[in-house]
Symmetry: C2
Subunit: 118 residues, 2 copies
């Protein structure tokens, strides 16, 4: 986990923006040119290219020249690592939701309070 | 997905820092006071409290007063949502790794090149 810290910083930073997440979603469906990526957002090409640079620095997107256009594609590894980092805590959130369910089942008319510590 | 966009912005932003991720890890093991959280990082209390405020704004941490100390605890929901967002692309990265494995099996002496589009 530790050795990917710098990568995780850049990955989570890149994903902390709805346009960049939409670009990730679009590229998960297949490679695209910068203008294809810009179209649904009604953004200028320079604005989209700025977002693409953030995604590239995080290793989430790679670009290559094909004739006169640049094709962008999504890279799998940073997404997989980010998901693996969060998924470590799946046991935690499943336990927390179970505790809340139990509490609500036992106290159906009360407002939920701070659940007990594990 | 869309209705959680603002929440996802804040969650990913909060996770884009190694100290805040370490706080999340510590709190997944149980509630802690601010000074308990500060200890392993050799940071001043104000510095840790600044990170805690970012985590609180993202809904990842809640605090309550217990006597003279403040206890922090991790909230499950934002972590679960962030994991769910990334996990949508699991099929994408699994396909990409499979393609790379196939390519390397067929071309064992070559350097991997840009894999084919799906």
């Amino acid at each position: 986990m530790v050795k990917y810290n710098r990568g995780l910083d850049a990955t989570f930073q890149a994903l902390a923006d709805p346009t960049r997440r939409a670009i990730v979603s679009a590229l998960a469906r297949g490679q695209a040119s910068v203008s294809q990526l810009a179209r649904p957002h009604r953004m200028s090409l320079p604005a989209v290219m700025k977002h693409l640079r953030v995604l590239e620095r995080a290793g989430l997107v790679t670009q290559r020249k094909l004739g006169r256009t640049r094709r962008c594609r999504l890279a799998a590894r940073p997404l997989k690592r980010a998901e693996a980092w969060i998924a470590q805590y799946r046991a935690f959130w499943e336990t927390q939701f179970d505790s809340l369910d139990r509490y609500l089942a036992q106290n159906p008319k009360e407002e939920p309070k701070w659940p007990k510590s594990k």
